[in-house]
């Protein structure tokens, strides 16, 4: 024990010496200093940041329309709509679109998430304007042809089904369904089988107009370009957008969510080799004052190899290969969940260990030193996660889209400094009262 202590002291000293910065590159790095923000007359917001380091332009077209707004009974509409942007326009067939984009060496993807959706583009500068023309055609003039629509529906349906073929994915889907009850967050962005089957091409055509209402859209660009030259092109391109959504189908309104005051458990017996366990708790949403405290808790609990779940469950006890926690932070009701895969015989021991570790936050809280450690860790990992032009364009765009403003991207670096031990304890006591557990086991 004593030997171990000396080891730790030595290691901490060594770490400190080696960790002295040679220069302050990371501390000085600023994502937003040169960002230009322009709001067009139609309400669409454009963010531009020049980054000549790579000969690439990344553009994110982000809309507030996420799958949580899918109309009741049409769950999966956002997903199917953005998927079918590649199916054809009044000017191009689906094949024309793909051939043109690929010949330009452009990467273009359209994705639906819970709280927003995105069309993401990467291109070399020489190809950017042509790629932009294709992208605009896809958003402005998509025809949602029946044959292609049916094919995409079928592929989407199969993709949703295939998630259930891997028990790890199946567990997460079952957890979300159980945790959220009647709230639309219970569906993955793929929607539901029933919803996917009910959606018609006309729904998608109308929903496309809902998604890309100009005052609901942020276009964020980072890359090798001249801001003024590009802005002129973007003003011309996006300035012509008008709000033409008729109100039908009706977006789902904000749903109530009440977390039950009891522990809940659900078990699925499947022919698996391992047992898969999620224990989840309610957690603050993105806008809540205690979101930072919950993020600190999550880092200590289950992010990385020095987290408590990793060290206690995997390192010390060898109970699992995967033992992590995830703070599933959303604009609406959110959760903190622990996930582990273990031998079926070890489920009880692993579960007990998870519950012990979660309870510790409510009982013991965290020290100021531990919180400071998390703050340093968060600053570094933030840099690591936002390295490319595309990730930076998404980061700037999303913070603007959800109302924080793009300037928050740099403020986030200091987000953790204000968290106190009292905040951590209070958040844990508030949220870690009742859990929802889903187990898949043979």
């Amino acid at each position: 024990m004593k030997k171990h202590f000396y080891h730790v002291v030595f290691v901490l000293c060594l770490t400190f010496v080696l960790a002295l910065p040679l220069h302050a590159a990371a501390a000085e790095f600023n994502y937003t200093a040169d960002v230009e923000k322009v709001v067009l007359d139609n309400g669409l917001t454009i963010l531009l940041k020049e980054n000549p380091a790579y000969d690439i332009i990344a553009m994110s077209v982000l809309t507030k329309g996420g799958s949580v707004r899918d109309p009741e009974g049409l769950e999966g509409l956002t997903f199917l709509t953005v998927r079918n942007l590649f199916s054809g326009t009044t000017n191009r067939t689906g094949e024309d679109i793909v051939v043109e984009l690929e010949s330009l060496g452009v990467q273009l993807q359209a994705t639906a998430s819970y709280d927003y959706s995105a069309v993401l583009l990467q291109a070399v500068p020489a190809a950017f304007e042509e790629a932009l023309a294709v992208l605009l055609d896809m958003i402005e003039n998509s025809t949602f042809p029946v044959e292609e629509f049916e094919r995409e529906r079928s592929l989407g349906f199969a993709a949703l089904q295939s998630l259930y073929d891997d028990p790890s994915n199946a567990l997460i889907l079952e957890f979300l369904s159980f945790f959220y009850g009647e709230h639309p967050y219970r569906y993955s962005p793929y929607g539901s089988p029933e919803g996917l089957m009910a959606i018609q091409p006309d729904h998608a055509a109308s929903w496309n107009r809902y998604l890309f209402q100009p005052d609901q859209v942020v276009v964020s660009l980072v890359g090798s370009f001249d801001k003024e030259e590009l802005l002129a092109v973007l003003r011309e391109s996006f300035g012509r957008w008008e709000n033409s959504f008729t109100g039908t189908p009706e977006p789902r309104s904000e749903a109530e969510f009440t977390y039950p005051a009891e522990d809940r458990q659900m078990v699925f017996n499947l022919p698996t080799e391992a047992a898969f366990l999620i224990i989840g708790y309610p957690a603050p949403n993105t806008f809540a004052a205690d979101a930072a405290a919950m993020a600190v808790i999550n880092t200590v609990l289950g992010e990385g190899m020095s987290s408590r779940l990793f060290t206690e469950i995997r390192d010390k006890r060898g109970l699992a290969y995967t033992a992590v926690s995830i703070y599933d932070e959303r604009m609406g009701p959110s959760s903190l969940l622990t996930f582990l895969a273990t031998h079926p015989q070890n489920v009880e021991q692993a579960r007990e260990q998870v519950l012990v570790e979660v309870r510790r936050f409510a009982e013991e809280g965290l020290s100021q030193e531990e919180i400071a450690w998390v703050a340093a860790q968060k600053r570094g990992s933030y840099l690591l996660n936002n390295e490319t032009n595309l990730t930076q364009s998404v980061l700037l765009g999303v913070t603007e889209l959800i109302g924080f403003g793009y300037g928050w991207v740099d403020q986030y670096m200091d987000f953790w400094d204000n968290v106190t031990p009292e905040d951590v304890k209070a958040a844990a006591q508030k949220y870690f009262q009742n859990y929802t557990e889903v187990l898949i086991t043979p």
Partner: protein, 444 residues
Amino acid sequence: MKRKLPIYLLVIAYLLSLYSTVLAMPVDPDSPLLPIEMRILPNGLRVIVKEIPSYPIATINVWVDVGAKDDPEGLSGLAHFFEHLIFKGTPSRPRGQMAYAIESVGGYLNAMTSLDYTTYFIVVPSEYAALAMEVQADALLNSLFEQTEIDMERTVIHEEIRLRLDNPQTYLVDMLLQYLFPDTPYARPVIGTFEELANVNHQEMVDFHAAYYVPNNMVLVVAGNVDADQVFAQAEELYGGMPAKAIPQRPYVAVPRLEAVTTLEEERNVNQSYILMGYPAPGANDRDAAALTMAGVILGQGRVSRLYKALIEKEHLVNSISAAYNGFSDIGLFGISAMLEPENLDRVVEIIREELVRLQTEPVTDAELSRAKTLARSSLAFSNQSSSNVAMFLGQKEIYGGVMNAVNQIAILEHITADDIMRAAQTYLNPDAYVLGHLRPEGR
């Protein structure tokens, strides 16, 4: 075999003198990966640095030329097991302290074992690059391999095996290996087996370390906002004391020739069928590797690829399709995978066969070839924005015969002709000799 190499040889001179001969082509001056610097320590450790000053992070990536193919008989899974233990403690850092040191500054560390190689990487804000290099070197040089840690980690690997068994796609890959590469060291799964993992103890780890974790069998790649001279100096300081040693000889592995179709079928609790068709292929350094890479794109990558159009757009027989070449050191694998309703299997296999015959008998069109090359170019350009991608790419190519293959990747692909693709398809994609793995939904 010992090679005497000059100290701190400047990379370009070294590369031009050695690799350009091997490749019979000049260095691609337009490569987005240039400039890079490479020096070789007197003990044979190759150090490659790619300075990326535009963003304040750095990736420290060590490659060791040892993988599952080197697992001793009866100790399947040893290379991977060893990799798990490398961060489990040194005299100066008990278990957990390496991860703690790196995560304290916001970085992360991880490792990966393949059939051919083992790689360890740490990504950190660049001001902590020196710390990361020191932690990594401590792990690689001074790990204790304590028996208690080995016994604990064995149970963790058991759980990892179960996870692979539960995932239909990883299960399929492991299922096919022994039939694709029979009687070769590539036939065994990287992760090993429950039975043979039981035989691994402290001494096996120490012996494995002594045999393969020697400087002349390792490559250190650092990419990011670093100063190359500082990296070379620290590399010398950290690794310069390691003595070079002869590495165990490996027999050359010839590409297996299959004579017929082998079908492996199992029922499973899945909603649709998963198939993987495998064809033994040449190693990563073979000229046909590039041709097969192009063939994979033309056949099964993207919405205008041949198999997508035939199997999804025209007849809608599958729910997903992909084709790709994966190269190892001596041999490789060309794989075609799909998800489908089980009743469509015969027709799907028939169409894939037709497309392979077409690839063997008709040159691909200029448009198809051009598309494949454009995709390769843009994919590399986008990928190069990440220091970890750059480090991984440079390191893997160095292990597989030379970092110049990374620098010249685009030029190599640009030189591929329709005839090259046809010849490679004729040589390796035999429509009547492959291994088909099929996971079928229960009762269907």
